[in-house]
């Protein structure tokens, strides 16, 4: 890979590990769920819309988000569950906007079907609000060009890829993912940066996402 373009600034990979913090808040029906979604911290909305992603790479059949799972399985509101599953998380770069979309979906449903207010869960099946506490730790891996970048991508933990793709963009509100940002600003390769930014990471497992990024960058290197 001689002649590969050196980056103006190196890219240091970080990893992200998390703890689940209990809030003690619980809902037994849709109205309570809605009211609490409006008031819980953004880190709780983040937890319940992203928890599945890190479990998904193990191929467990986890539901796409906790709100959709609960209204479907515990309240029997299948249609609302489907609407909540279908919210396009990719279009939001702020938790605030994602929260607003979830709130509007539930409010619309409650207005269309007032009888849904009458459904309650049984004891032990309440929705428990949990927050994600993230710990971001720099790793020893530093990329100076796309060659380094791809080699590190092959061996870095899935938590690191998760951090730079999901957490950086939505939770830290960085507009785009870290990889795209570095490729655009330090390697001045806007085309590749845009390609990476356009990947929908929510519809694949993290291992598939790793493969897709590697493939995209490899193609770029060989085309240079």
């Amino acid at each position: 890979m001689e002649g590969i373009l050196k980056a103006k600034e190196p890219f240091r990979f970080s990893t992200r590990l998390h703890l689940s913090e209990l809030t003690g808040l619980r809902a037994i029906n849709l109205e309570q769920l809605l009211n609490l979604i409006k008031e819980v911290p953004g880190s709780s909305i983040y937890h319940h819309t992203h928890r599945f992603l890190q479990q998904h790479h193990f191929f467990s059949p986890e539901p796409p988000n906790d709100f959709a799972y609960w209204v479907t399985e515990m309240l029997g509101e299948n249609e609302l569950g489907e609407r909540l599953v279908s919210i396009d998380t990719m279009q939001f770069s702020r938790i605030h906007d994602l929260r607003a979309a979830i709130v509007k979906t539930i409010e619309d449903y409650l207005n269309e079907d007032p009888s849904s207010r009458l459904r309650f869960t049984r004891q032990g099946e309440e929705f428990h609000f949990i927050k994600s506490v993230s710990f971001v730790i720099p790793t020893k891996y530093v990329a100076n060009d796309l060659g380094d970048f791809i080699e590190i991508l092959r061996k870095i933990t899935i938590d690191s890829i998760y951090f730079h793709i999901f957490e950086a963009r939505l939770r830290l509100e960085r507009e785009t993912n870290d990889f795209s940002n570095w490729i655009e600003t330090s390697l001045e390769d806007k085309e590749l940066a845009d390609q990476l930014a356009a990947l929908d990471p929510y519809t694949r497992t993290l291992e598939d996402l790793r493969s897709a990024i590697i493939e995209m960058v490899e193609k770029r290197i060989f085309s240079q």
């Binding site: 703890l19 209990l22 003690g24 993230s134 830290l172």
Partner: protein, 403 residues
């Protein structure tokens, strides 16, 4: 001596690398665990495995056990039952006994940790010694519907801690301190969970005169009413009407559980006359427990209350089909019809056991799924990672922490 590198073939190199990365951030801190028993019960078991691994990671860790007499442990057993919403009369004298022993331990136990990690209600009063250091209270019991008198008594101490830790979301309540969700774990390399040669398994069956000619249904647990051994006997009798099988009820007793002997006698009495029922008192023989689990066709855990139910994780790790009550931490380990079968009653347990015995392919598939679920979520390496993050959280209040 088990080393961290021994876990690499099971969980992968990157998981161990992460542990080392976090541990570096805890250099210079001493963690002091305190609980009520050095052997017997899930807490002692987890600590005995975890303390050496934390030390290998460079996190200075010590483990102390409080002292208490028969009377004190009689009271704490009552507290335990009351927190599990069992009807039990707690007298003024009980609280006095608890406080007296608590004061003695406050006087006798030296606190030297930068982080003091107190497990369960028995040593909870030690928090009165809190100074500049950080204190954590780890609740291993199901407190989803606690006796309010006991809970309120404990709350006086809980609120003095920096954070509390619970095993399942159901157990959390509104508290004025931070509270975290951390499930316990099993150690795949311990005597209780490591692979065993068939000869060892056969030798244990021979020792206890358990023939291999009929399917074996097993519940491994302390002889404790909350584990519902009588309910297991009833479920077995239902199954036995249709399928020839045998039942093994096996377990030891924790040194802080004075009720065990009475329950054991009651179970023996009820099983009298049926040679297919094997009631085994196995004080701390992990290899034998392991062998019995591996020899079993179906494993049951029909508890009425459960802090977490580590015996379920142990059984799933051995790829066994498991029937277990839908309570406490068990639904975190078993997704119904995916990694085991959940039940709510004796009849439900009997029906699920019959399903497994009559459909071996289905039983095998659920057992295999169960093993993967445990590998990904309930092994000691995940537990170590979360405990170290918990320690770090004591020094960082924000939701995104840059280290």
């Amino acid at each position: 001596m088990i080393k961290l590198e021994n876990y690499i073939p099971i969980v992968g190199q990157s998981v161990i690398d992460d542990l080392r990365l976090i541990a570096e951030r805890l250099r210079g801190k001493t963690v002091q665990h305190v609980n009520s028993t050095a052997v017997g019960g899930g807490v002692a078991e987890i600590l005995s495995r975890m303390v050496p691994l934390l030390q290998e990671l460079g996190v200075e860790t010590i483990w102390d056990v409080i002292k208490g007499g028969e009377q004190f442990f009689g009271v704490t057993k009552k507290f335990h039952n009351a927190l599990h919403a069992r009807p039990v009369e707690i007298t003024k004298r009980d609280f006095e006994v608890f406080i007296e022993t608590g004061q003695n331990n406050i006087a006798d136990l030296e606190i030297c940790g930068d982080i003091v990690f107190v497990h369960d209600p028995q040593p909870i009063m030690l928090v009165k010694k809190k100074k500049e250091n950080k204190w954590l209270w780890r609740c291993h019991v199901d407190v989803s519907e606690p006796n309010e008198e006991v809970w309120n008594f404990l709350m006086e101490f809980i609120i003095r801690y920096d954070s509390a830790v619970f095993s399942a979301p159901d157990f959390s309540r509104k508290l004025p301190i931070r509270q975290f969700l951390i499930a316990p774990s099993i150690d795949p390399l311990s005597d209780k969970n490591k692979d065993l040669p068939q000869e060892t398994i056969d030798a244990v069956l021979q020792k206890y005169q358990i023939p291999k000619d009929k399917p074996i249904i097993t519940q491994i647990s302390r002889f404790d009413r909350l584990k519902d051994p009588i309910g297991v006997l009833d479920a077995y009798k239902e199954v036995r009407k249709y399928i020839k099988c045998q039942l093994v009820l096996a377990g030891g007793g924790a040194s802080d559980d004075p009720e065990g002997a009475a329950v054991y006698s009651e179970v023996k009495e009820k099983a009298k006359g049926d040679s297919n029922i094997h009631i085994l008192l196995l004080p701390q023989n992990d290899i034998e427990i392991n062998a019995l689990q591996r020899a079993s066709t179906v494993i049951i855990q029909k508890s009425l209350r459960e802090g977490f139910g580590l015996t379920v994780a142990e059984a799933l790790w051995k790829s066994k089909p498991v029937v277990a009550s839908n309570i406490g931490g068990i639904p975190l380990q078993i997704k119904h019809k995916y990694s085991g079968l959940l039940c709510h009653s004796v009849q439900g347990a009997a029906f699920a056991i019959k399903q497994f015995l009559n459909s071996p392919a289905y039983a095998k598939k659920l057992g295999e799924n169960g093993r993967e679920h445990i590998r990904n979520n309930f092994l000691i390496t995940r537990h170590l990672r979360e405990y170290m993050l918990l320690f770090l959280s004591l020094y960082h209040k924000e939701d995104v922490v840059y280290l």
